[in-house]
């Protein structure tokens, strides 16, 4: 099987939080492979990321584990190390996920008005009168905000009939 590049991220738990000097020592070792070492989020330990060539993601993880095990034994005096997470994926996928924003694209009433092609006042009217107008993502002191996809979906499915509605007359006359 032909080798290809993989981004491998391993997370190791340790019995006690690692001192910054130990993390630096591991990072120095990892930089020999152009890798990155970080403090583990959510518990004691560390995370290692490295890009390497291997025939499969499983093989990439095996190579990375062997490599970091050597680093741990030579660079620092940490014995209670346990692998708790391992991932290998295509570097482009890893990059795309790394830069994916945490927050959705948001729209104020003014933004929604632009998307819908109506006035801001009409947006507020739709909020109170239209049964299918999306509920706001959040309500701020400045007013409600929505996610852009929900407003766009409403626009695309809105049975829009411009013009004045016929006035209902009393008694049907």
């Amino acid at each position: 099987m032909a080798k290809q590049e993989w981004t491998v991220r391993l997370v190791f738990a340790t019995g006690a939080a690692l001192q910054e000097a130990i993390l630096d020592s591991l990072a120095g070792y990892a930089e020999g492979w152009d890798g990155t070492v970080a403090n583990r989020a959510g518990g004691a330990g560390f995370a290692v990321t490295v890009d390497l060539m291997a025939a499969s993601p499983v093989q990439a993880i095996d190579v990375a584990i062997a490599w970091i095990a050597k680093g741990v034994s030579t660079c620092c005096d940490v014995t209670d190390v346990e692998l708790v997470d391992a991932r290998a994926c295509d570097p482009d996928i890893y990059q795309a996920e790394a830069l994916k924003p945490d927050t959705p694209e948001l729209a104020s009433a003014a933004d929604a008005a632009v998307i819908l092609g109506v006035t801001r006042q009409r947006v507020h009217q739709l909020v109170t009168e239209h049964p299918r107008f999306p509920a706001p993502y959040a309500r701020l002191a400045t007013g409600p905000i929505w996610t852009v996809p929900t407003i766009e979906h409403f626009r695309d499915t809105w049975d829009r009939r411009p013009g004045r509605r016929p006035v209902a007359t009393a008694g049907g006359a």
Binding site: T7, T36, N39, A41, Q95, A98, K100, P101, D102, P104
Partner: protein
């Protein structure tokens, strides 16, 4: 690339993080509670990937990653997607 790491540093600082430069030129990222997270080398051999790794790690430690502003998206379109 230097611009990208500087943008990340500015964003992290604006969110209460501390980023220090040490004697060896590493940029060291600390959470708002003072916990050390990760370092970025002075001259990484692959700056794009090291920046990517730092972004992943600071996000794991709670730094929200924002959407690019509308002005930034406009600028990227003008500059051919960069």
């Amino acid at each position: 690339m230097a611009d990208d790491i500087n943008k990340l540093i500015a964003w992290a600082k604006s969110q209460g993080w501390d980023v220090q430069s040490d004697a060896d030129g590493y940029r060291r990222f600390y959470r708002p509670d003072g916990t050390y997270v990760v370092r970025y080398p002075a001259t990484p051999s692959n700056p794009h990937r090291r920046l990517r790794d730092v972004i992943v790690e600071v996000r794991k430690h709670g730094l929200e990653w924002p959407r690019p502003s509308k002005a930034e998206l406009r600028s990227r379109r003008t500059n051919g997607g960069r």
